[in-house]
């Protein structure tokens, strides 16, 4: 059964009404205030969903009652909130919005004092406080105050201007599908002051009737973005999720690019700037990343799937050692942006990449090796999963194995990864072959996996 509420170290996410309720917002905000040890203000921002206003009210109430001052950025995307937290003395932040989920969903993302996502340890402590309900509501004389910050987007754009050369992007024709979400607030301002040629579609913020599901995948790109890109002869089409932390793209011919390709493209861009730096990604991401890293004499650190694991890995290395971090969903973090998933920065990096290479996106993609990747998911009885893993290990005995997150096996011409989803009760099977078809490998795997269904 698809659940309508999920509370995990990633945060809290659910369908508003049957799953995610007002008290979740109140209780999580109260728990978050206990978790943050500094007494500084907490920053919040929200996406345009109707339910985001309800959740905001609850969060503000709990934070004020916990003695915290609150700084509200209003309607602002997560990357802007993260930037604002870092440039001020905020103790942390809460982003209200369900990024790529459809309108009935909502979610809370918790951010630490540097604007980064919580580490696994902090996230599980937050859950413990929430479950124990050990809140700390203050005496009436110590109730916090609410403030507003309407400069956050402006200051964020100033940071983009320090990192990217907007002048160099002149002449590049870009179509952006804002998915009725917050990216339009930033793109509008960028257009006002730079000679960039960005055509926006679905730029009006919507609280209920999104132009389409804000999912950043090839299918969504094909709906509205690709036809417009084709019609006006653009160089690049880009689709944002609601809170513009990730993107999906299509070429000038309107053909959607697999979301798996975003990280390799940006790794290429970043490694050329900083050769030899490390790339961090998860065990399920295409081995194209390894190929590109090898070109620049860089290593790839693979971590279990999930934002938390990437954050934990990032914390172990100095910023100047890392070129890029990301996953196959199109979510990418750049060191210049404090390692937060930032769709606007991803777009600017990709556009800069095209300009630097003086070529089209299509050509860049055809220059890359073409690998066959297959993804499938199977519903399994949870108690039989360990048996399944043991059988797979036996079958591929002798191959290079990684058991950090399910089982990843590297064979001569490719690899596969069998793991249990963090968000749904399914087993995900991913196989990629560098030569030939992955068909045989995936069917072999499926046969074994299904025998445990």
């Amino acid at each position: 059964m698809a659940s309508s509420l999920r509370i995990s170290t990633v945060g809290v996410r659910g369908i508003v009404g049957p799953g995610l309720k007002a008290h979740h917002a109140l209780e999580f905000a109260a728990a978050f205030s206990v978790l943050l040890d500094r007494a500084d203000p907490v920053m919040i921002a929200r996406d345009p969903r109707a339910s985001s206003v309800m959740l905001r009210e609850g969060i503000v109430a709990s934070l004020l009652a916990s003695g915290r001052d609150v700084i509200d950025l209003g309607l602002a995307p997560t990357p802007v909130l993260q930037h604002a937290i870092q440039r001020t003395n905020a103790a942390g932040g809460i982003s209200i919005g369900a990024s790529h989920n459809s309108a009935e969903w909502n979610a809370l993302k918790f951010l630490g004092p540097n604007g980064t996502y919580l580490s696994s340890g902090e996230a599980s402590e937050l859950l413990d406080i929430y479950h124990l309900r050990k809140f700390d509501f203050k005496d009436w004389t110590q109730v916090g105050r609410l403030h507003f910050d309407d400069e956050a987007i402006e200051l964020y754009i100033q940071e983009l201007e320090r990192v990217f050369d907007f002048k160099a992007l002149e002449g590049l024709k870009i179509v952006a599908d804002c998915s009725s979400g917050l990216s339009s607030l930033i793109l509008k301002r960028i257009k006002e002051r730079h000679p960039v040629n960005i055509t926006m579609i679905n730029a009006a913020l919507e609280s209920k009737n999104f132009a389409h599901t804000p999912n950043t995948n090839a299918r969504t790109v094909g709906l509205q973005l690709a036809p417009v890109v084709q019609a006006i002869g653009a160089d690049l089409g880009v689709l944002f999720d609601m809170d513009s932390d990730r993107i999906a793209v299509c070429c000038g011919d309107g053909v959607p690019v697999s979301e798996e390709m975003i990280l390799p493209l940006l790794a290429d861009y970043q490694l050329k700037l900083h050769p030899g730096r490390m790339v961090i990604t998860n065990l399920s991401t295409t081995s194209l990343v390894d190929d590109i890293a090898a070109r620049y004499n860089a290593s790839v650190l693979r971590v279990p799937v999930g934002r938390q694991h990437a954050m934990d890995a990032l914390a172990m290395y100095p910023v100047e050692k890392i070129a890029v971090a990301g996953e196959g969903t199109g979510a990418v973090m750049l060191p210049e942006f404090r390692f937060v998933y930032d769709g606007i920065a991803s777009l600017l990096a990709l556009a800069s990449h095209l300009k630097r290479e003086r070529t089209s996106l299509r050509k860049l993609l055809t220059q890359m090796p073409s690998y066959d990747m297959r993804k499938l998911e199977v519903g399994l009885d949870a108690k039989r999963i360990p048996e399944l893993m043991t059988e797979l290990e036996d079958r591929w005995a002798g191959a290079k194995m990684n058991t950090q997150d399910g089982l990843r096996v590297d064979i001569e011409a490719g690899w596969f990864h069998v793991r249990v989803s963090n968000t749904e009760p399914v087993v995900r099977v991913i196989a990629e072959m560098r030569q030939g078809s992955a068909e045989e490998l995936i069917s072999k795997l499926l046969e074994t996996v299904r025998s445990y269904a």
Binding site: E27, G58, A61, V143
Partner: protein, 451 residues
């Protein structure tokens, strides 16, 4: 005895903010309220307490989750809110105010779509829904938003008030008026109303809504020393003291002497009945001076159980013109709205003063003089019936009235006993035209009840 730091009951939620009244409780209660009144516009306002904004956000959260549209009116007096609810077709309203309680308290006052306090049955149904805990909750698709209107509530309120008085004759007198607004929700409205609308020469203190309450929140002689001083120092014709949510009023005469609240109510009734016909409803503890005043105008007085909602219910059913509760300084004038309203009370008193040449103390002096005492007695659980019987035996000739506790009406006075709703306390009030008799009735009663 347990200290009552949190009370969740038929009158809503009231408590000391922090450990007791939490945002979680406020949001839950508001959500139950929203589910009860249904998906429509709910007016949300507050007094000037520091915890008001925090509770306001929690309540907005609960209301939105229930699928209501929230109309935020900001800092407003309780009567302003009630009138606004009634005039704008809202399905209900929540006022965040602990009224005359100390600053560490806050509470939710609940209003129905007519801008009236929830009656007993509505409150009970809401409480059941709250305890049941499973309300219909809105999905994103069903969810409505927050709209803000901080300007029109004042105008609507004052327009209603001035319809019933002769504004020009009040203005022409340029009364010297002193005001203590307790830095409450009415601070700015009162200054505008008295100065601009009624043309008074105003001496105002504690009218900064951003500041803390400077005195005990309940307007009574013990807390209004500064007002009395101000009246004397500035030679004012009258002084007004408000509570934080602007429903109660205490009045000071031109000599700097506080009026007894019952006498203030009697004067307001006198002023109202002089202007138009109608009956009167007051609670059982209100002074008999009200009966004398009503009799002068040939009008009837209905007596009700203690509590604003009870008086309002009776006023509504008998179509009374004016009513109130003596001890609390509340005047309810149906021409404005069926709510306690300090602004209507101020207007009625000034209007009457403008119509004659008497000073306020002279006008009060015309009221029959009654002597009153009140007190509290703790009683052990199960002993209350015995105490009441003892009182009946002591006064075999008394007429008995059992609407709210026991009222013994004697030829030369009365005794009213009622148990508190929240504590094992018996409240005792006595009244007589003779000072000696009042003293005697009171000491006899207290001796018997304490035994």
């Amino acid at each position: 005895m347990r200290e009552h730091k949190l009370k969740v009951g038929v009158s809503g939620v009231r408590g000391v903010v922090g450990e007791f009244l939490t945002p979680l409780l406020a949001a839950d209660f508001a959500q139950a309220f929203g589910a009860y009144v249904g998906r429509g516009r709910v007016v949300l306002g507050r007094d000037t307490r520091f915890t008001g904004p925090m509770i306001e956000h929690a309540v907005a959260c609960g209301l939105l989750a229930a699928g209501c549209e929230v109309v935020r009116v900001g800092v407003q007096t309780t009567p302003t809110m009630q009138i606004y609810i009634a005039e704008t077709g809202a399905v209900g309203g929540i006022g965040i105010t602990a009224s005359h309680n100390p600053a560490e308290y806050n509470a939710l006052k609940l209003f129905n779509g007519e801008g009236l306090f929830f009656n007993h049955y509505e409150r009970t149904e809401l409480l059941d829904l709250f305890h049941q805990g499973e309300f219909i909750v809105a999905t994103n698709e069903q969810m409505l938003g927050v709209v803000v209107d901080q300007v029109t509530p004042w105008k609507r309120h004052i327009n209603r008030v001035i319809k019933h008085v002769d504004v020009e004759r009040i203005r022409s007198r340029r009364f010297r008026v002193a005001l203590d607004g307790v830095n409450g929700a009415g601070s700015e409205l009162s200054v505008w109303f008295l100065k601009e609308v009624l043309g008074c020469e105003l001496q105002a203190i504690h009218v900064d809504p951003t500041k803390a309450f400077p005195r005990e929140a309940e307007p009574k002689p013990e807390s209004l020393g500064e007002l009395m001083e101000l009246v004397r120092a500035c030679g004012c014709d009258i002084g007004f003291g408000q509570d934080p949510d602007g429903d109660r009023l205490a009045v000071c005469d031109e000599r700097g002497v506080m009026l007894d609240n019952d006498d203030m109510l009697a004067l307001a009734i006198d002023a109202a009945l002089a202007k138009g016909p109608g009956d009167v409803a007051v609670n059982l503890t209100t002074s008999s001076v009200v009966d004398d005043v009503a009799a002068r105008h040939g009008r009837r007085v209905y007596r009700t159980a203690v509590g604003e909602a009870n008086v309002v219910e009776r006023m509504r059913s008998v179509k009374a013109l004016i009513g109130g509760e003596g001890s609390s300084g509340g005047v309810i004038f149906s021409g404005t709205h069926l709510c306690r309203d300090s602004y209507t009370a101020m207007a009625l008193l000034l209007d009457r003063m403008a119509g004659g040449t008497q000073s306020l103390s002279q006008w009060v002096g015309e009221l029959p003089k009654y002597f009153r005492h009140s007190g509290k007695v703790q009683f052990a659980h199960g002993k209350l019936g015995g105490l009441m019987l003892g009182m009946e035996r002591n006064h075999p000739k008394a007429q008995l009235e059992r609407t709210d506790g026991l009222k013994l009406v004697l030829e030369d006075g009365w005794i009213h006993l009622r148990a508190s709703n929240t504590e094992p306390l018996l409240r005792v009030a006595v009244e007589s035209r003779s000072e000696a008799r009042a003293d005697q009735l009171f000491s006899e009663s207290m001796t018997l009840l304490r035994a």
